[in-house]
């Protein structure tokens, strides 16, 4: 379809002229007849070709300049975060911000951040909540996806459609009642409240079900004939095949615990159960409550960001795969 349209628009043209129009990037169509181009001297053609090459190089340079400029803008906040975290307080408060610490690197900011923010406990809390909720969530997801992909039962399609339909509803609608539920249950300021309400993710069940469906039925029947139980088949055949998806889910779930702010703030904001992101935003980072010690604050921000960078460096492949399919923000 597209090809035909383009054909009609620019059909009556001469090859050399066409080449020059592409390379120079002009929109005007050249109206030269066959006769004219036939008498075009060779030097003229040579000249045009040279102009094309120059235009092409200039175009490429333009593209690189644009991309590198954008990349620098993307990277600058990370640079500024690290630089600020290493400045002394005196240097930070200078009227002219310095682009490189001139008064030496102050690593004491990191020790200070760890102490003031009680980061040891908060890190441990976050990792604990992350691991427990990921493990439980994986079990629930795998079992549900297996039943929905492999087993036949009445009401399967209706149930699956109903589950998918809940994905359309914004999470805030659930949060309101869930907040009331956990307050009524007396679950506030426990680890349970941070784990249980988010164990089921319809999206992950959907993702894994799609994966399981691709495994040919014959494998299952062959296993049945051999007397393999469902759970053994699931463990030995389906889970290994779906491993990349399971890894994506694990990473996104752990990152979810690491980055969660709203729910912990509502239901588990005491010091014993505080999670890292909540702690990061609410701590004053200074012994004097009237001020914010920005270098220490930036040191804390860096500490929170480092594990995410590690995930990014080593597991990028899995995240990009999961993200491209889901469109969810970790």
């Amino acid at each position: 379809m597209e090809e035909k349209k383009i054909d009609q628009q620019v059909a009556p043209q001469v090859v050399e002229d066409i080449d020059s129009t592409i390379a120079l990037g002009t929109t005007s169509l050249v109206d030269k007849t066959m006769d004219e181009s036939a008498v075009m001297s060779e030097r003229k053609i040579e000249k045009v070709k040279q102009r094309q090459r120059v235009a092409k190089i200039v175009g490429k340079i333009g593209v690189y300049v644009f991309l590198i400029a954008m990349a620098l803008i993307v990277l600058f906040p990370f640079y500024w975060m690290i630089i600020s975290s290493l400045k002394t307080k005196d240097e930070y408060y200078l009227t002219q911000p310095t682009f490189w610490p001139t008064q030496g690197l102050d690593f004491a900011n990191y020790a200070q951040a760890f102490k003031v923010g009680n980061l040891g406990v908060t890190f441990a809390n976050t990792v604990y909540v992350g691991i427990v909720s990921t493990a439980l969530s994986l079990v629930i997801t795998v079992l549900s996806a297996f039943a929905l992909a492999r087993l036949e039962f009445k009401g399967k399609n209706l149930l699956f459609a109903g589950m998918l339909a809940t994905m359309m509803i914004p999470g805030e609608l659930f949060t309101i009642t869930n907040y009331k539920t956990v307050v009524d249950l007396g679950w506030t300021n426990t680890f349970t409240v941070l784990i249980v309400p988010f164990l089921v993710s319809v999206f992950y069940i959907y993702l894994l079900r799609q994966n399981f469906m691709q495994i040919p039925d014959e494998l299952y029947y062959a296993a049945k004939v051999d007397g393999t139980s469902d759970l053994k088949y699931l463990w030995k055949v389906m889970i290994p095949i779906a491993m990349p998806s399971l890894i994506s889910i694990t990473i996104l779930k752990m990152m979810g615990a690491w980055n969660s702010y709203v729910w912990p703030r509502l239901v588990a904001s005491d010091d014993v159960h505080a999670l890292i992101t909540y702690k990061l935003r609410t701590t004053q980072w200074d012994t004097d409550p009237m001020y914010v010690d920005y270098p220490v604050q930036m040191a804390a921000v860096t500490l929170v960001s480092i594990p995410l960078f590690m995930v990014f460096i080593f597991l990028r492949k899995y995240i990009m795969k999961g993200v491209a399919r889901s469109g969810i923000k970790g």
Partner: protein
Amino acid sequence: MVDKSQQWKAWIYLAPAIVLMLVFTVWPIFNTIMMAFKEGYNPMYELNPEFDGWTFGLQNFIDLFAHASAFTNALVNTLLLCVLTVPISTMLALLIAVALHSIKPLQKLLQTIFFLPYVTNSIAIGMVFSVMFNIVGDVGSPDANYGVINQIFGTMINWMNLGSTKVANYAVMVIYIVWNALPFKILVLLGGLQGVNKQYYDAAKVDGTSKTRVFWRITVPLVSPMIVYVLITGFIGGFKEYSSIVGIFGEDMGATGQQAHENMNTMVGVIYDALPSGQYGKASAAALVLFVIILIVTLINLKISKKSTHY
């Protein structure tokens, strides 16, 4: 292949998911809708002997839209941020994706850099942006530290401190949200571009079509499904904007001194702020308004996309 044993086995496998969903997904749908229409309902009043129950009505919705309310302010903030950031970030992401697609050397490296902001904590990096725009010292005094952004551009703009204008606050938010939204959009759009059949471009080359024309007549139509996808997810994400504001402005949701009806709070922020004080009716009504807005925007998007998507 329906046999009896599979029937009950399937339900056992599904039981944990179903039980949890009944409590934390299905019940909330009904309960939240009900609470939105309960007038004068507040669990705190139940302890009060003078509590005279509640009636069904629209009072919660009427209260939301009262004159100079925190909610109408939040609604305007959310809509404005959406309208400003989604087109800017989509256009910029498309340009970057097309540029990335057209180069060979450095492509992998640049692609990695552009994806970096995705794997970050939006509150943590929000705090970095906040530091970049923040004025340390007395606002207006030449001795104050005006932040690195003012330093780079040689300005003394009060972006987000006491006495800053709403326009300046918006500028900071738009810059941060666009920065934050780029990686996902670039990833999806680049994926779309890589899936386009090269023959279209070869045909255009033979026909001598200009680059601008190729972009609008071939690239954009062929990746239009991805553009629609990032637009819809962008708008939905935009209507739920919250943690970026917390990252920049902290839990006050605005510059120092701004009142609740004039700060940068968003719809989601209003919903969450109402919960600790037990204003469930108000929060539920706000959540329903949010749901309806998201539904309408998504339907409009789908309708338009059906007309303009080229395959």
